[in-house]
């Protein structure tokens, strides 16, 4: 069209007036700020209510007169949140370990190894992303109950295995890692192979260290998926033994009645670990999204 476009210095031929420019900028910031307030407000309300007395929650004050830290103690001990919390941590750790193991291996195979049946397998994996849980939920429940095939120990209802094993692999994580692994230059592999490196060693010593961003992304999505899970744990935990936080919180909603302040303290407890993990990983996570073709 024109070659002057790439020349620096000829930009901004149509100069906007400074006043108009400042006003325009200000309106942009206004939109962003309004958005931020809307996104933040429910969290503010959650934290604020969690520190109120019962009376203050009823008359809906905006901030408590004196922060009632004791609410957290109540939620932690009375509502059994300590138990649920530990359950959630253990379930999430177990799921993540399995998820990373399966998806790094499969992502590598799909991204970097030529083998027969690869495209078919990958297609089948991807297709599972479209299937609603409603379809798989009921047979999975029967599987875990030990109705369809006999399981070690009879039934997996109310066990650790029911909450972790079914989530130890998913197509999304494999897809995400595959996208990244496939971009690694072939020369690296050729060089490694000359040095007598096989796929497994190449994966561990070369690929994984340079793939921190996508692995962190899988980790963050896996963490939130496992930590936030509700429908499945609701189904397969009938006792407190392995009941995770979300089901505990839901039970608390049903029972707590007007005790909004405890409920909110419970809700804050459930989001703190997510916030910590998010702030720790968010830099890699952003990179991960930008580099793994997640953008579509």
């Amino acid at each position: 069209m024109d070659n002057s476009a790439t020349l620096p210095g000829i930009k901004h031929i149509k100069k906007e007036t400074p006043v108009g420019k400042i006003l325009g900028k200000a309106s942009l910031y206004l939109i962003l700020l309004v958005g931020a307030v809307i996104f933040i407000f429910p969290f503010f309300w959650m934290i604020s209510s969690s520190l109120m007395t019962l009376g203050e929650t009823i008359i809906r004050k905006f901030v408590p007169a004196i922060p009632q830290w004791v609410n957290y103690k109540e939620a932690w001990t009375q509502a059994n949140f300590s138990k649920y919390f530990i359950n959630s941590v253990l379930v999430t750790l177990g799921t993540l370990t399995g998820l990373l193991f399966t998806s790094i291996l499969a992502g590598y195979a799909f991204g970097r190894i030529d083998f027969k049946g690869k495209n078919l397998l990958f297609g089948i994996f991807l297709a599972t992303m479209m299937i609603p849980e409603s379809v798989t939920l009921i047979p999975n429940y029967l599987l875990i109950r030990g109705t369809i095939i006999p399981l070690p120990g009879g039934t997996w209802i109310n066990t650790y295995w029911a909450l972790t094993v079914p989530f130890m692999a998913n197509a999304f994580s494999i897809f995400l890692l595959r996208q990244f692994f496939a971009q690694i230059p072939k020369e690296l592999w050729d060089a490694a192979r000359i040095d007598g490196c096989d796929h497994l060693r190449f994966l561990i010593q070369v690929v994984m260290p340079i793939s921190k961003a996508p692995i962190m992304t899988v980790l963050l999505f896996g963490f939130t998926g496992s930590w936030n899970a509700f429908q499945w744990p609701l189904l397969v935990t009938t006792r407190d033994t392995w009941r995770p936080l979300m089901v505990g919180l839901y039970g608390f909603v049903q029972e707590a009645g007007p005790n909004t302040h405890w409920l909110m303290a419970g809700a804050v407890i459930t989001i703190i670990p997510i916030l910590i993990v998010y702030f720790l990983t968010q830099k890699q996570f952003t990179q991960g999204i930008a580099t793994t073709g997640l953008k579509g």
Binding site: I10, L143, G196, Y250
Partner: protein
Amino acid sequence: MESSDTIISTKGSNAFKKQAFKDQITGLLFTFPALLIILIFGIFPIGYSIYMSLFNWQVTKGPFIGDKNYLLIFGSWTNFLIILAGIALFVLGFYVWRRAFQTLSNGQRWAHIAGALILILGGVIFVTGWGLMYETGNKDFLNSLIVTVYYALGTVPAEIIIGLVLAYILYQDIIGKQAFRIIYFLPYITPSISTAVVFQIIFSSRETSVANRLIGLFGMDPLKWRFEPKPVLNLLGLDVSGLAGGPSLALLTIIIFGIWSFVGYNTVIFLSGLGNIPKEIYEAAEIDGGSKWDRFWHITIPMISPVTFYLSLIGFIGTFKAFNHLYVMRTPSAQNTVITTSLLVFDRFYKANQYGVATAQAIVLFLVILGLTFAQNKLMGERVFYG
């Protein structure tokens, strides 16, 4: 161990075959753990669901009843076929509208007229089939589909528009870009059960609730929010009632939550998409005198369309699968206006113990999702601009 010259050796040599064989084994071994879990918990259940749906299955397996569970939904296969015929005509009409007669002069107009007629016919037949199904089939199920569609249409377009606007602004020279992005993404990663609980309180029916105080500022009377089964249009003064009158206020409350929790995801993905648009295009347009608005409309929108397409696809599939926050935010007094199909299926299974009926409903839901995804691919996919 190969030496360096075997690597550059040509195809067909022994070393190459050996490597190919090793690759085959390694590839299968590496995919095996994931395959095992996805096969058992992701693929086997689909087949087993179809199997279950053919039995009178209530907690334990009962007698084989063939298509009875499906007939409970459709009323009769005739109804189902009428609906299918309606959809087929709709597709045909659309095809005629877009493509046929294109080479003929003056054909465009005839194609449009013919296409429009077929579209109308298809619509009429679809509505007839739907009406018949409503008479003899499962009303709850059909209602739940309507609710699901309301929920999808209420959330996905809004999420995409707001997400794009926020991303576009953030893409400019903005101080605190990082902070804004972190904040916008928060609702998406925090557990929906926990945030839905807060929304319950914000949108409670009390006069002093945050939502009621907020609308009070505009002189409106307190509303019942989550507990209000009346259509929003009815509350605005239009004379409509029931599900045909549009989403209820209770559903709108859930839609607001849905948008709030999902916009951040779209913003982040759009933001990374914007980063991939070459800067030179903008500079060229600026020199040619294009205004900011022109640039947004004629450069950003087309260049970002693959991302938009991806997000709307993910969004629609997501809303049809949505469960957690709907389950928490629904109230008995909102009646069936907040029961989406995924909730209905879960209730059939979990509360009523009718496993056979529930699996049949789930499979129909899956087919609806498949159909919609396919339609969306056809409708939007063609307009996507891939550089």
